[in-house]
């Protein structure tokens, strides 16, 4: 074995490794040179026959051959693996539809109620509830509604037997809470209400309201305005303003109707606000002292505000729903949008 033979052998082996076409060819190269019965162990075995003076040089070259060949095999293997991986990736279709059960959805009316509830909850309001079948006392009398008030008309209200009716508003919940709890009171009452309206794009005989009530020693219309403004900004958008228009309701005095400035156009006028810049929401006011007396509160000691809002109306405004009936048709394609 001569030194030059080893140099030639190294060149040949590294060349074979570099040109291997497949991992199996590469493995054959490895076995041929480095395997247990391969050429290199053969050479190491024959080292004892080499002239002692040449031995260090031949040994060094044999080691070099081993190391360089191993490096060549590794690098070639990596190259081959990368190539075959890319091929595999080509056969893997990442555009197939995903497979996992999808989430369901909450009804748009629920979404508004839950959102409103959580906004008022940050202001210290908790949720109160009452029955759908109410007494005339809670729905009308205790709320200071005169006997002859048009809202009591059987044309507009669903009466059941003996002084019972389907509540026309969530305000009776106010009465129930105040009858059972000493002030202070801070509640909101979301719930279903009923009016004998013919159903059309904006009317539904069955709808939802959210009632708010805040009673304490010192609560003013300014607090009402401030709290509703906070709500409006959380619910509709950052810069929404509130506007009061005087109105008349038997259970509040002073009474107002309140509007939100249009969250879409910022008050400049657009289709959503019918070009007025404002969106009518609902009624509110300072709880009428007669109502406070009716529930046994002393109107000289406590005062407060109450407000209502129509849930479907807010859902329609916020979600751009053109017809209230869509909310009760429960079409999957509609529900899936919210």
């Amino acid at each position: 074995m001569k030194a030059q033979d080893l140099v030639d052998l190294k060149q040949k082996a590294v060349g074979e490794a570099a040109s291997a076409a497949a991992p199996s060819d590469l493995e054959a190269v490895r076995i041929k040179y480095l395997g247990r019965n391969g050429l290199l162990p053969e050479i190491m075995k024959g080292l004892k026959d080499v002239a002692p003076a040449d031995r260090p040089e031949v040994g060094r070259l044999a080691n070099e051959l081993k190391n360089e060949l191993q490096a060549a095999i590794d690098s070639r293997r990596e190259a081959l693996e990368t190539a075959s991986g890319a091929q595999k990736a080509k056969a893997f279709d990442t555009t197939l539809p995903g497979r996992w059960r999808t989430l369901g959805s909450r009804h748009p009316v629920t979404q508004i109620i839950e959102r409103a509830t959580s906004i008022f909850s940050t202001m210290g309001f908790t949720v109160a509830d009452g029955p759908d079948i109410e007494t005339e006392h809670h729905n009308f009398d205790a709320l200071n509604t005169p006997q002859e008030h048009p809202s009591r008309d059987p044309k507009d209200t669903f009466y059941l037997a003996s002084g019972l009716l389907l509540r026309t508003q969530t305000s009776p919940v106010q009465i129930r809470v105040m009858e059972n709890q000493k002030p202070p009171v801070r509640i909101i009452a979301p719930g279903r209400c009923y009016r004998r309206d013919a159903t059309d794009a904006t009317h539904s005989a069955n709808f939802h309201q959210i009632e708010g009530l805040y009673i304490d020693r010192q609560v003013s219309m300014a607090d009402l305005k401030g709290d509703l403004t906070y709500f409006a900004r959380q619910m509709m958008g950052e810069n929404v303003q509130i506007r009061f228009r005087p109105h008349f309701f038997p259970f509040t005095e002073p009474s107002v109707e309140y509007d939100f400035s249009c969250h879409v156009c910022g008050g400049k006028g657009c289709r959503v606000c019918k070009h007025s810049g404002w969106i009518e929401i609902s009624g509110a006011g300072m709880v009428n002292p007669k109502v406070l007396s009716n529930v046994g509160y002393n109107p000289n000691e406590v005062m407060g505000y109450a407000f209502g809002m129509g849930v479907e109306r807010i859902a329609m405004i916020l979600f751009g729903i053109p017809d209230i009936r869509l909310l009760y048709e429960n079409d999957v394609r509609f529900l899936g949008q919210y």
Partner: protein, 801 residues
């Protein structure tokens, strides 16, 4: 209430646009619903005198009119039935565009050329009336522009008057508001009435038999009345306000009603028996036809105005047909009265008859202004109907209304509104509304309330008056004060949200159905519960006549509606109330959760296209329940086979909590779902909602997580098809060592190689000790015990896995 702005300006000065006025009204509490313009400048339309009327040669219904439009003569074809030679009418020449948009072109009508057109009201944009030409007064010279006759265009505000403000059902009442808004003064017409002849007290008598129903009644006698048309200005005002002109006397009563809010009635005194008035209740058997010639079913609770013998008017609602003003009426008995609002309301409702008069009496008229209105009408009758007022007025007013004074604390006003307004501002606002305000100590004033503001009774009413006139826009917008009321808790609401979110996480969409349904829909599911249903006595349609007693009928209906729209899969839930009538007649309501499934909702990917089996849908429904019960930690919930109306036999179970039934689930009867053409199985669940929520926030304990490795063993057995999974579990449970961690059914197979009436069930068992690593020998020993027990108990063959 319609408010013509030019009329308003008779009583109050202000300088603003109609839009500006409308905004001010709206923001002080009188909502303006619409702003309307009536009339126009009538460019090119003039007064023309008709000189000659001849028959059209080629048409029976047309005439040829020679007219004088101010200069020269023209011939026009006319189709109006009321055209007369010597009459004066609005006229437009060819070339003019009329207010209704019609441009007059040169044209032959039935062969005769028309040089212009005589106009009816609709063509002038005054109304939709096309019955005849608009007749103009003789005083107008031919050629006078019509705009001079009809005046400038009128802007009318359409107002919504809230029920607490009957005073605003009049122009003067509104003028008072406007004066307060603009800080100007109200100008009420001065009345100077000349009276002649025999005193009214000698000409008639008034007897009020029911002073409760009629606290004030005045009568005035007008003699020498000449009935005729009202002057144009009055007609225009009435029509702008929405009241049709009839004749001068009737128009005056309406005009004064609009002006001051006091309804008036004019009787032809000669038609009154003994010429006198009795205010009383209806007597048994009495009948009466009203002015509209309709026989009204008057009854004994109603108040009428009668003469010596018979009723001649339904008090405050409508006059009678036998005593109304005729063309030949000479002597008018003018009624101005005040009736009890509740009486008028009841009568109006019973008769189904609502009039301008009843509308005002129902809300309450100003009892202090009754006589003023009478005098005002008498003055106008003297001016416009040639009448003479008999001296004096008969005024039956036994208990004059005491004036009211309300103390008002300035600090209270500021406290309620959240302002720091000055006392002087408050007194100024009160004064501007016609309320007297005098100092009453350091922090209060005493506000005297005139009779026209009966709605003001308490301090809070004055707070409202101040707030709305001072301006709600001046109220500040403070940041919320988030204080917690004692005892405040939203735990129950949080529990509902938790449950709803779990359902959404399980892939269900929330729906919402109406609380009322048709009885027929409920009958489909269970005709036997009809006696317990809550039925509405006054539904608005038969489809919504009954309160739902279950959420399931509408759930299936909703699935059906979606299926009809080619939607193949749906997984729904609804949380809603149901209603029931108890045996004692009381009503009960309860919140429930319902679930409904159709289509391959329990599968993903390509499996969706395989047909679904009854077992699939049942087990999906059950799977949802198990997942929900798990996340709600309802460890006490159990299931038991049970049959239910509307559910397929053998494919329904009852849900029990602490042994009590709280719900059910299963497959909808095939016959039932076919009502909605649902061809595949439909799974439904309905359960009381509240029992689901009790354990969500219950305290939890920790069980150590096992760290030693587990050993798995399988068991496959061939059993009769009647053997149930639960039977096998029970046997296993009995003999299982504590090291048996889990048993899982992983395959069921029936068919080839198994044998008729048999099925193969394959289970995997997981053994694990919490104290040591189990050896294969340990696991074999445990598993052999289990297998032996199953073999012995069921006498079945076990195929080693």
């Amino acid at each position: 209430m319609r408010l013509p702005i030019s009329w308003l300006k008779d009583y109050v000065e202000f300088n603003d646009t109609p839009k500006g006025l409308a905004d001010k009204l709206t923001f002080s509490g009188t909502e303006v619903e619409a702003i309307e313009t009536i009339g126009s400048t009538y460019e090119g339309v003039v007064v023309a005198e008709v000189l000659k009327v001849e028959r059209h040669p080629n048409a029976d219904k047309l005439t040829l009119c020679t007219v004088n439009p101010g200069a020269g003569q023209m011939v026009v074809v006319c189709g109006a039935p009321n055209v007369k030679a010597g009459g004066k009418y609005p006229f437009a020449q060819v070339g003019v565009t009329l207010p209704n948009g019609l441009k007059l072109k040169k044209a032959k009508i039935r062969g005769v050329e028309s040089e212009g057109m005589l106009c009816a009201e609709d063509e002038l944009g005054l109304s939709t009336d096309h019955a005849g030409l608009l007749e103009l007064e003789a005083q107008w010279a031919p050629g006078t522009p019509l705009s001079e006759v009809l005046g400038p265009p009128e802007t009318v505000l359409d107002l919504e008057i809230t029920p607490n403000r009957p005073d605003c059902l009049s122009i003067i009442g509104l003028a008072r508001e406007v004066a307060a808004m603009y800080g100007t003064t109200l100008k009420i017409p001065a009345l100077a009435l000349a009276e002649f002849g025999r005193p009214a007290g000698e000409l008639t008598r008034v007897e009020v038999q029911d002073a409760d129903g009629c606290p004030r009644y005045t009568a005035r006698i007008m003699t020498g009345v000449k009935i005729g048309p009202s002057p144009d200005w009055m007609k225009r005002r009435l029509e702008a306000a929405g009241i049709r002109a009839i004749n001068n006397v009737v128009d005056i009563t309406n005009y004064v009603m609009l002006e001051c809010g006091q309804p008036l009635h004019a009787f032809d005194q000669e038609l009154l028996e003994e010429g006198r008035i009795v205010v009383r209740r209806v007597r048994p058997g009495e009948k009466m036809a009203t002015l509209d010639n309709i026989e009204r079913p008057i009854s004994e609770s109603m108040l009428v105005i009668a003469d010596a013998k018979k009723p001649v008017a339904v008090a405050g609602v409508m006059g009678g047909a036998g005593s109304e003003i005729r063309d030949v009426t000479h002597t008018v008995l003018l009624e101005s009265a005040c009736f009890k609002p509740a009486d008028i309301r009841a009568t109006s409702r019973k008769l189904g008859l609502s009039t301008e008069s009843s509308y005002r009496f129902e809300r309450g008229v100003d009892i202090g202004g009754v006589e003023w209105a009478s005098r005002r009408a008498a003055q106008l009758m003297a001016q416009l109907a040639g009448a003479t007022a008999a001296p004096g007025v008969i005024d039956v007013y036994p208990t004059p209304r005491a004036s009211r004074a309300i103390p008002c604390r300035y600090s209270k006003v500021n406290e309620v509104i959240g302002l720091q307004a000055a006392a002087a501002d408050m007194r100024r606002v009160f004064a501007s509304l016609g309320l007297g305000a005098s100092e009453n100590g350091a922090d209060a004033c005493l506000v005297s309330v005139p009779t026209f503001r009966q709605d003001l009774e308490r301090e809070i009413d004055l707070v409202e008056e101040f707030a709305r006139i001072y301006g709600l826009d001046k109220i500040p917008t403070p940041s919320p004060r988030a204080e917690l009321a004692p005892g405040a808790s939203d735990r129950s609401v949080e529990a509902i949200y938790f449950c709803r979110n779990a359902l959404v996480g399980l892939g269900l969409r929330e729906i919402m159905n109406y609380s009322f349904v048709s009885g027929a829909l409920l009958d489909l599911f269970d005709p036997n519960d009809a006696a317990r249903r809550v039925v509405l006595p006054n539904p608005y349609s038969a489809d919504h006549s009954t309160m739902r007693n279950s959420l399931l009928p509408q759930m299936v209906e909703t699935l059906g509606r979606n299926a009809a729209r080619q939607i193949r899969e749906a997984a729904f839930f609804e949380i809603g109330r149901v209603f029931e009538k108890k045996e004692d007649g009381t009503f009960q309501e309860e919140t429930r959760l319902a679930i409904g499934l159709m289509g391959a909702v329990g599968r993903s990917g390509f499996d969706r296209h395989h047909p679904v089996t009854e077992e699939d849908v049942f087990l999906w429904t059950k799977g949802i329940w198990e997942a929900l019960a798990g996340t709600l930690r309802l460890s006490k919930a159990a299931l038991a086979d049970e049959a239910f109306a509307g559910l397929e036999a053998g494919r329904s179970v009852s849900i029990l909590m602490d042994g009590k039934p709280i719900g059910r689930f299963g497959l909808v009867k095939a016959a039932l779902r076919k009502e909605w053409r649902l061809s595949e199985p439909v799974g439904v669940l309905e359960v009381q909602f509240n029992p689901l929520l009790g354990r969500i926030f219950a305290s939890r304990s920790f069980s150590p997580v096992a760290t030693f490795p587990s050993v798995g063993r399988d068991m496959a057995l061939i059993v009769d098809t009647s053997v149930r999974h639960e039977d096998i579990l029970k046997i296993v449970e009995k003999v299982a060592p504590k090291e048996l961690e889990r048993v899982e059914l992983f395959d069921i197979f029936a068919g080839e190689g198994i044998g008729v009436g048999k099925k193969s069930m394959a289970y995997s068992f997981t053994y694990r000790s919490s104290e040591r690593t189990l050896t294969d020998e340990d696991a074999n020993r445990y598993h052999e015990n289990v297998k032996d027990a199953v073999k012995k108990s069921l006498g079945v063959e076990i195929r080693e896995g």
